[in-house]
């Protein structure tokens, strides 16, 4: 399967100039490796879509047949990662409340402008999950924002299971939790019964041969989740939900990441204590009114979570404001006191770690996929443009050839 995808991929990437089989060297004025210190005057050697070497330009031996991309006046960094989104799919919220067996893979719309725009902003990996409205919402899909079909875009099909602790309209939290427990308990009971049946099969000696009972295919995802083999992405709208999620994860022994609502900073200490990783909401900074003191208080989520020692990734939204860009979110975090390296990491390496895919991307290191963004300046500077995006070794976006950008940047009104 993977070979087939690989082959398909090489075809698409070929359209962009060269294939992933080519050897490529990117010369960069500055490399923001994220995992280590920045490298001034560096070079990155890419083979088969993966980073083969990274270092000072003079330290990298450039093969004779290498294609060289000269970005020596530019800054190169790993592509931004969107660790949780429900955009780019058709209706992400299933009405039936327990559908662990569905996957966003089946409803991704490859031509959604969202993906095109993500690429333009230097995002190279996206985790598309079911929305917050379904209790047990199904599996997500890790994508690259490039390709003509879902298959071509897919990095990991059926990654993690989305759960939501947000009660549906007309339901209370107690009812919601009771419903989740019922699902889990019935699943455990089902597994227990299945085991029992399996044990009983060989003893049924006298009767006719029966095939051993098989697991219902619809229950497989859930079984893997409760068996600790599949990570849960648990949406917690309120801080009390965080505690409930922890309670559930301990009782039912599953692994999880938290997708938190804005008030959940109140539970930051509890999250830190359990060493959980979180995805912050796009509205990371918000005002609230202290009605007693008639005072306005600014809550800065990244700062609070950083201080509490929690590893976090940031979401973006679809507004026409800065909050729709990962770099802007990172800049906002820096503005309010988060160290620069942590802010950049939360949009790259930490996001990859939240995805449990840090072995594949998130930083510029040997062995990782060559998902690179070539920038005209510092990553957190508003004046910086994404000049090129390299996805698994192939250039898939060039600002010069971006027709849409060209159009909105026209000085004179055309036509």
């Amino acid at each position: 399967m993977r070979i087939v995808i690989g082959a398909a991929l090489s075809v698409i990437l070929a359209q962009a100039g060269w294939t992933r089989d080519d050897v490529v060297v990117v010369k960069a004025g500055r490399i923001v490796t994220v995992s280590g210190p920045d490298i001034e005057g560096g070079a990155i050697l890419i083979k088969g879509g993966k980073i083969e070497a990274v270092g000072k330009e003079k330290e990298i031996e450039i093969p004779w047949d290498a294609k060289v991309l000269d970005a020596s006046k530019m800054v190169v960094m790993p592509g931004w990662i969107e660790a949780h989104t429900s955009r780019g799919v058709d209706r992400p919220n299933e009405q039936v409340q327990s559908v662990p067996f569905v996957s966003t893979f089946d409803s991704i719309n490859p031509v959604d402008p969202y993906f095109e725009d993500a690429l333009r902003q230097g995002v190279t990996s996206l985790f598309v999950l079911p929305g917050h409205q379904t209790m047990i919402g199904g599996q997500g899909c890790v994508l690259r924002p490039h390709g003509l079909t879902t298959e071509q875009m897919t990095v990991v099909k059926n990654h993690a299971l989305k759960l939501s602790l947000q009660p549906r309209g007309g339901m209370s939290r107690m009812a919601h939790l009771a419903a989740i427990r019922r699902e889990f308990d019935e699943m455990l009971q089902y597994l227990q019964d299945l085991e029992e049946k399996k044990r009983e099969v060989p003893t049924a000696a006298g009767g006719q041969k029966q095939p051993p009972p098989e697991m219902d295919i619809k229950k497989e995802t859930m079984a893997r989740f409760l068996g600790g083999k599949l990570t849960g992405y648990v949406y917690c709208p309120e801080p009390a939900d965080v505690l409930k999620a922890i309670e559930l994860s301990k009782k039912y022994k599953f692994r999880m990441k938290l997708v938190v609502g804005r008030e959940c900073w109140k539970a930051a200490d509890a999250i830190a204590k359990e060493k959980l990783e979180v995805v912050l909401p796009a509205e990371m900074v918000y005002w609230e009114t202290d009605e007693e003191k008639h005072q306005e208080i600014l809550r800065v989520l990244p700062a609070i979570f950083h201080k509490a020692g929690v590893k976090f990734a940031m979401q973006t939204d679809s507004s026409s404001l800065g909050t729709s860009y990962q770099w802007y979110q990172a800049a906002t975090a820096v503005k309010h006191g988060v160290p620069r390296d942590v802010a950049i990491k939360s949009g790259t390496l930490h996001a990859a770690e939240v995805l449990d895919l840090a072995d594949r991307f998130g930083s510029i290191e040997k062995g990782k996929l060559a998902n690179l963004v070539v920038l005209t300046g510092d990553p957190l500077d508003a004046q910086t443009w994404v000049d090129r995006v390299i996805l698994e070794g192939a250039v898939v976006y060039e600002r010069e050839k971006d027709e849409k950008l060209e159009r909105v940047m026209e000085l004179k009104a055309g036509k």
């Binding site: 007309g170 107690m174 308990d185 019964d193 000696a205 006298g206 009390a240 505690l243 200490d269």
Partner: protein
């Protein structure tokens, strides 16, 4: 039955087990062994006994060690001089919904819903409630329907110490008859409620029977299975049984010392099909078995009468909640020996159906009829309340009862010991006695005096509120 209980433990252990879900804003401070705390000089209302002038209360850790006129104060004790003050037990609001999200009131309930799952430990709405002297709260699920869920008893510890925050989980099963929380309650509503309640209890009975039968069948099956297995060993399957008459084995000699061997089985016994575990029915079965008290909210006089009838029909242990028109049927309640958690005392707005006959002298009538009662805040939107602020005025609610003829001691008991009793926590809180929880309130004057202010609140042996001198 035992295995049903075991199952319940597996399935619903979170319902009942006091898991550390009360994790709060911060971890409880790890404290070295505390010095004992002594409060001297005050007039003390132990509630369980007559008031004592100039008593000493000695607290050791989270409990009361001694109380009386001549208690020795240890040398290392911290002493609070409360001369001129009045001390009462921490108030118990048996009609509270503090920390329970208000939004839940529009949702549909079910017997297995646990209010503790909805309690928002991050909310600080209990702060003022605690400052008014309420240290313990019986909270109920806010939901629609006949079965609303399981109630819980909270101790309003500011640090949310998970060990002590839930004093009792699954304290009672909350039901509602003929009251929807809005202004639509009618006889028809009650009829529906009763019908559904009866069906549910009948269903639970059937559920219990199914499980009892399953367990019986299972035991039987296991025994037979053993026999079958042994039988199989004796006649190994390898040996093809001859088609003709099998050689007759000698009939086994009867052994008088052993019971008669069972008849040989002709075919392999079938394992009985296991019924589904239903968390809702599990709870109802406990109510039917008398292990779980049922608190029935009913306001109209006829709703109350129907509640009493339902209790008699299914042999439920019940307590009435709200009971706005209890004064109209006090005799019937007394006769049924049912207790009442009365409230709200304060009602606002154009009266909704259930509150048209709301009367300030209801408690007095119940007292006269010898009905056991507590007074709770019951901040019900249908009575014009919003939020849980009514809990701050529990003493005032009791004072209103006094104005209409309830003896002051009895009124105080209605918000302390009697309330604790109806919440099932009177062994721990509600009165000032040795070995009970060190939850007490120091007042600046007699409890029902208009000059009475809460001076200090001591909860689990710690001063959790101290009035700023103004």
């Amino acid at each position: 039955m035992r295995s049903a209980c075991a199952l319940l433990l597996i399935v619903g252990s979170t319902l009942l087990a006091p898991f550390g879900a009360a994790h709060g804003r911060q971890d409880p401070p790890v404290r070295p062994a505390r010095k004992p705390l002594a409060i001297k000089g005050a007039k003390v209302y132990p509630v369980s006994a007559p008031p004592i002038e100039g008593a000493v209360i000695l607290l050791d850790g989270t409990r009361i060690k001694a109380i009386g006129k001549d208690v020795q104060i240890p040398g290392d004790a911290t002493v609070i001089d409360a001369t001129g003050r009045v001390i009462i037990p921490g108030l118990v609001d048996a009609g509270s919904s503090v920390l329970v999200p208000r939004g839940d009131s529009g949702t549909s309930g079910s017997a297995e819903h646990d209010v503790a799952d909805g309690v928002d430990t991050f909310s600080e709405e209990d702060k003022e409630v605690l400052q008014s002297g309420v240290t313990t709260a019986l909270v109920r699920p806010l939901a629609r329907g006949q079965f609303n869920g399981l109630e819980a008893v909270l101790r309003l510890l500011p640090n949310r110490d998970p060990q002590r925050f839930y004093l009792r989980r699954a304290a009672a099963l909350k039901m509602t008859l003929g009251f929807s929380g809005a202004d639509t309650s009618t006889a028809q509503q009650r009829q529906q409620d009763l019908l559904a309640a009866r069906q549910s209890f009948e269903g639970a009975k059937a559920y219990k029977e199914t499980w009892d039968k399953y367990r019986k069948d299972l035991a039987e099956y296991e025994q037979k299975k053993k026999q079958w297995d042994e039988q199989q060993k004796k006649t190994p399957p390898k040996a093809d049984p001859p088609k003709a008459d099998p050689p007759k084995a000698d009939p086994p000699k009867p052994d008088p010392s052993k019971p008669a061997a069972p008849e040989p089985l002709k075919e392999e016994p079938k394992k009985p099909a296991k019924p589904r575990v239903d968390p809702r029915s599990e709870v109802l079965v406990r109510a039917l078995d008398g292990q779980l008290t049922v608190h029935i909210e009913a306001h109209a006089a006829d709703s109350i009468e129907h509640a009493l009838a339902l209790a008699a029909e299914f042999k439920l242990k019940i307590v009435l909640e709200g009971a706005t028109e209890a004064h109209l049927v006090a005799e019937a309640i007394a006769k049924a020996k049912v207790a009442v958690i009365l409230g709200p005392v304060f009602r606002y707005g154009i009266p909704k159906v259930d509150y048209v006959n709301h009367a300030m002298d209801c408690a007095a009538v119940l007292a006269q009829a010898n009905v056991e009662f507590a007074i709770g805040s019951f901040p019900n939107p249908a009575a014009g309340h919003s939020g849980s602020g009514a809990s701050r005025f529990l003493l005032e609610a009791a004072a209103c009862a006094v104005a209409h003829g309830v003896a002051p001691e009895r009124a105080l008991r209605a918000v302390t010991l009697d309330a604790a009793k109806l919440a099932g926590v009177d062994r721990a809180v509600g009165s000032l006695e040795p070995n009970k929880a060190a939850d007490l309130v120091i007042l600046t004057a007699e409890p029902f005096d208009s000059a009475a202010r809460v001076d200090r609140v001591i909860l689990a042996g710690e001063v959790v509120y101290e009035r700023k001198s103004d």
